[in-house]
Chain length 350, copies 2
């Protein structure tokens, strides 16, 4: 592979001049520039990004460590992150932590070793020493979706509180009173927040969230199945189940069917995180939709701001309720008791 020296030789100039042409430095004669460009063309020369990075201490690369690539929510997040990064002249290396802190650390270490310019993380846990060290060492970092409390890093996320209130209003309006939740890992902020928001919304309706209506999941389908089975085994099972993410909702759907029961007739189901497939499931699933693409783009912008010396900003965007059929047929337009803007009703079928 041709190097800058070969180009210099071919063009009959020094390497410095070649470098100047390539980085369009002003003081290069038109003649020299033309000769260099010609040499680049004939040799098919491409600058070695590795060498350039070593010298300039910039890789123009961002690291993205997410909890689970197979989760459509994170897939979409990754996609939007890559798009925005590309638009800003950066590449992205994705690390899949699979909800495992050790894998998360592996990826963070790897990315740091590769001297990425900045790190986008959706932390699996409360923050390993490695990650805290990286922050302390001044690695540009931004948390997306989830974050670590007490760490001074910008956070880009969706706020689901209002949407959860809308959901509870919706369920209440359909006559459901015994509402249960499949929670995410307590080590994640999203795991905690969604339970808190749900409990709070229930209280507004004078409803309680008993301990045995809180199932401990891990954001994976299998846990949704397990927890739901537990719910169905209770003396008085819940009338509605709210899964804190889309995969656990899928597991819940499985469990309900395995009992020969039907959604929504026998039990209502709703999920946090909307995904395209929810339109096509049987029945279409009511969900809380995050502005995923916007989150990814905002996170990249914040990180690049930080990298390029501008002050980065935390961003919080609202999530919204998308009503489908998994909680029961929607009654003719009813006014929810709460004063929030009414939930968006999405055509699940034309």
């Amino acid at each position: 592979m041709a190097s800058i020296k070969d180009v210099a030789a071919e063009a009959g100039v020094s390497v410095a001049t070649v470098s100047r042409v390539l980085n369009d430095h002003p003081s290069v004669s038109a003649d020299a520039r033309a000769r260099v460009l010609a040499a680049v063309e004939t040799l098919g020369y491409r600058p070695n990004a590795v060498a350039r990075s070593l010298r300039t201490d910039q890789t123009h690369t961002l690291g993205l460590v997410i909890s689970d690539v197979m989760n459509p929510y994170f897939t979409e997040l990754a996609r939007s992150v890559e798009e925005e990064a590309r638009a800003l002249g950066y590449s992205v290396i994705i690390g899949n932590a699979d909800e495992r802190p050790d894998l998360q650390d592996h990826h963070v270490r790897n990315l740091l070793d590769r001297r990425i310019d900045g790190l986008l993380v959706s932390p699996t846990d409360g923050g390993s020493p490695l990650m805290l060290d990286a922050v302390r060492a001044g690695t540009p970092m931004v948390f997306v979706d989830r974050w670590i409390p007490g760490v001074d890093v910008p956070v880009v996320r969706a706020d689901g509180q209002a949407a959860v209130r809308d959901l509870v209003a919706h369920l209440h309006g359909l006559g459901h009173r015994r509402l249960a939740i499949i929670a995410g890992p307590a080590a994640t902020t999203t795991g905690q927040e969604r339970v808190a928001a749900f409990r709070e919304a229930l209280q507004a309706y004078g409803l309680d969230l008993p301990e045995d209506y809180i199932g401990q999941g891990d954001f994976q389908a299998e846990s949704g199945r397990r927890v739901t089975e537990g719910f169905l085994d209770l003396a008085t099972p819940p009338e509605a189940v709210f899964a804190a993410d889309n995969l656990m909702a899928l597991g819940a759907l499985d469990a309900v069917r395995a009992r020969g029961m039907r959604v929504p007739d026998d039990i209502a189901l709703a999920a946090f995180d909307d995904i395209p497939w929810f339109v096509h499931t049987d029945p279409p699933i009511t969900a809380i939709a995050q502005p995923t693409g916007e989150l990814g783009r905002a996170a990249v912008r914040a990180l690049v701001d930080r990298i390029e010396g501008r002050p980065p900003q935390s961003v919080t965007l609202p999530a919204r309720l998308v009503v489908r059929r998994s909680c029961g047929e929607t009654a003719p337009p009813e006014r929810p008791a709460s004063p929030q803007p009414s939930p968006v009703t999405n055509r699940s079928q034309t």
Copy 2:
């Protein structure tokens, strides 16, 4: 960030000795080794992968360029690729081509500039000059899923012929005679092969595949919708539609529903590529399942073999039919006319 020089100073040895300890070269005294290790510890030193790569001309990084990350098939492929690569000591940089040749070239160029050790590609088109140049220049490369004819590069893929025959037998057994296909882009091998396999299987049953029963799609949901609408507008619409990938099947499902028709009562539907969601759609969709994880792992092994100087091997694994309910209720066990092993029947619901 501490460099090897700092470690050398701290340990009171030369950089050469530090390097030897780090790469566990045999001739280092136990004393020196201990002092270096201690220095590494106190300084929290981590070798700079960029510098190392420049010197050794190896990045221990693989590039993976796929057509569409949002397609669950490719997501799973990417995941298995990353896992196997990690097990072998490599990292993976993923580039999403979004079925666009220009984007594909962008990523290939980018990865080449970063001097990745090898490239895994699922080509979007028939092969750009850039890609052909890369092959000619000796870049270790392996094609996965799709390939480019006439290029001497190992291919790791699934063979769907037998499974397509099984599918046609299944459809025929259910009484369907007018069978249509939503094809993928003609520029892709998978696009062509699936149509060819389908036509061939039909012939075995004395069935024809007329021109207007071949819809031109692009592996995206929207094209599945469009093509299906075209089918339904025909004077004699097909009785069954076979979508050449999962997203187009989803589009087809949409289109059928938009007409107020039902699957499988009004029209049967099957898809190439099985995904977890197909179990949960209404109705569960009959599909041809590829051994995706195996493909990803085999592709990585082939590429790493090539990189490390061992002869790489092309691999072809069989796909298999997974029968669910989207083509009609399965009749009591029937013997298909063809002599192939009978299709696997998967419990779509317990």
